[in-house]
């Protein structure tokens, strides 16, 4: 833990001038003919939790996957506009996706640990990046599991298969796996929607903890959750950003009628 904090203190100094990690300018995205994201403009702040809410199919996941270019796995995708990560356009030809995704981690809706031991799950990232030293790996694994608040639960069974864990534990393993490569930003796509209430609570607490060190973007269909954990919230509707502001303001006094309708449950 200490090291993470140390590192991040350092980072803070460097980037204090601008506290924006992502700047999204006029982003458009099509799945074939289907215009899924329309003129998105949005800045994501450092060391904050940014929530994205909106009805099903409005483009939340698409937006998240565009940030780390995972969306390119769908062959028919076309994009226009710009996403700049710390000043560099992620769509630049010589910006390798692997590099981008190393600094921008992602946690998915359904826990998706690899069918390996807990240890190997966490060590996966460091290993592919060339870290082979056993001692270093041990340290990273412990640090990451602690960071994901699951160390105590699994420290005695590091070499058992991750599939033996409960869903909530698996999700925290996935978060730990993500922490292991010391990302700068963490994207989370409905990370608690497959979890029971108690596990949800744990993950929510973890997110609040993590924002000390990481910038977090979280998609959620649960407005209470957005309200509980996020600093800013964006409301998406049919591929557009309807409103993006401080979470407290968005939920108490939204500017847009559609936002109001949505948060009061009139549709969605």
């Amino acid at each position: 833990m200490e090291t993470v904090i140390a590192k991040n203190k350092e980072n803070k100094k460097n980037t204090q001038a601008s506290n924006t990690v992502f700047k999204v300018n006029d982003l458009n995205l099509w799945y074939g003919e289907d215009h899924a994201l329309k003129n998105i403009n949005l800045d994501i702040d450092e060391k904050k939790v940014t929530a994205i809410i909106g009805p099903s199919g409005c483009g939340k996941s698409t937006f998240l996957k565009t940030i780390n270019r995972m969306v390119e796995m769908v062959p028919i995708v076309k994009t226009s506009g710009e996403i700049s990560y710390r000043g560099r356009n992620v769509f630049d030809k010589d910006y390798k996706v692997e590099e981008l995704r190393t600094t921008v981690g992602m946690v998915f809706q359904k826990p998706n640990p690899f069918p390996k031991s807990i240890y190997d799950n966490i060590a996966y990232g460091p290993r592919i990046h060339g870290i082979k030293n056993k001692k270093t790996l041990d340290e990273i694994v412990e640090k990451s599991l602690r960071g994901a608040a699951i160390w105590d639960e699994v420290k005695d069974r590091l070499h058992e298969n991750a599939y033996g864990l409960s869903g909530g534990q698996q999700q925290r393993i996935c978060i730990a796996r993500c922490l292991a490569i010391e990302p700068d930003v963490i994207l989370m796509d409905e990370p608690t929607s497959a979890l029971d209430p108690i596990s949800t609570l744990k993950v929510e607490e973890l997110v609040k903890e993590l924002k000390k060190d990481y910038s977090i973007v979280i998609v959620t269909h649960n407005m209470q959750q957005a309200a509980r954990i996020s600093d800013k919230t964006a409301f998406f509707l049919s591929g557009e950003v309807i409103e993006y502001t401080e979470t407290s303001k968005l939920f108490s006094n939204p500017d847009d009628q559609r936002t109001e309708d949505y948060i009061t449950g009139r549709f969605g």
Binding site: M73, P75, E98, K116, I128
Partner: protein
């Protein structure tokens, strides 16, 4: 009841139709039995094979000691004066072909599987898979001529000492024939690894290669290995390619440039000359057939065991 439509109520019609439902009831009880009979035929086939092989093999062992058959190192059934029936050279020939074939089929097949499952676009996959299926559907006799008429002369350019009938050329072509099988079964296993697994790895900055080798392949390992084992079984049982291209020299050797004989090639050799019913030679084919059957049977069981026992739970 309405006057406009002169129909009675459907419910009444159904009710009245129920009376002649007797035949329906009979069909209903006959059909399962009929289909069970069909299913039993496959069991009967297995028993037929076992019965045939065991029965004639026993006759063979009345004339030739089973000990000689299993432990003998000489296979020379054609000798009039002192035939010897040690199956070892045939097994050795079979295994030699199998090893060569696997050295070709496993790397190439697996690489193709990885390419198709992890690298290729949908379009490429849709074009290439049917072509590979065509490759798998070519009759083995065609491959046999290909081995003899093309691969052997080609290899002879590099290996002047190569016998015209040799294990190497036959083994390579058996391998080529099996590539599509390894590729498509492995590809199936790899494609069934959930995408979430790939996304997880890609999201950590993995390259495609790392995803394939460190996540997908381990997750699909049992299916992939099962495909290898099935391929081995197929290579062991392959007949026409080896009958045409590997020669008929039953010697135990690991020199791949030499002519050897496999179990299947021996069977074709004997029946190509239609031996007389009832001779020792005739029964020897069944003994060899039995051995061949046991080899492939064990392989098939192993493949099933592997894919069942180690079925991945993602």
């Amino acid at each position: 009841m309405s006057q406009k439509t002169n129909s009675v109520s459907v419910r009444q019609m159904i009710q009245s139709n129920k009376k002649n439902k007797g035949s329906l009831r009979i069909i209903e009880s006959v059909m399962p039995k009929l289909f069970l009979t069909c299913a039993l035929i496959s069991i009967l086939t297995t028993f037929g094979i076992l019965f045939t092989l065991i029965f004639e093999t026993i006759t063979f062992f009345k004339e030739v000691s089973i000990i000689e058959f299993i432990t003998g190192t000489q296979w020379f059934p054609f000798s009039h004066s002192s035939p010897s029936y040690g199956i070892l050279p045939l097994i050795s020939g079979t295994l030699l072909i199998t090893v060569i074939a696997m050295l070709v089929a496993i790397p190439v097949g697996l690489a193709a599987a990885i390419y198709l499952s992890e690298f290729a676009t949908d379009r490429v996959r849709r074009i290439i898979k049917p072509i590979l299926e065509v490759l798998a559907g070519i009759p083995t006799i065609v491959y046999g001529f290909f081995a003899l008429g093309f691969v052997t002369p080609l290899l002879k350019n590099f290996i002047p000492d190569l016998s015209i009938y040799n294990a190497l050329s036959a083994g390579i072509v058996v391998g080529i024939m099996i590539i599509p099988m390894v590729a498509s079964l492995s590809e199936d296993a790899m494609s069934s690894v959930p995408n979430a697994m790939r996304e997880g790895a890609l999201g950590l900055g993995s390259t495609r290669l790392e995803v394939s080798l460190k996540v997908v392949l381990p997750a699909a390992l049992s299916g992939v290995i099962a495909s290898f084992v099935l391929a081995i079984s197929r290579a062991i049982g392959e007949t026409m390619i080896v009958a045409l291209a590997a020669g008929s020299n039953p010697i135990a050797t690991i020199d791949v440039t030499q002519s050897i004989q496999t179990m299947t090639a021996y069977m074709v050799q004997v029946f190509g000359g239609d031996v007389g019913y009832g001779t020792t030679l005739y029964y020897s084919v069944y003994a060899v057939g039995m051995t061949l059957f046991l080899f492939t049977f064990v392989m098939n069981l192993l493949a099933q065991y592997i894919s069942r026992r180690f079925r991945e739970e993602y």
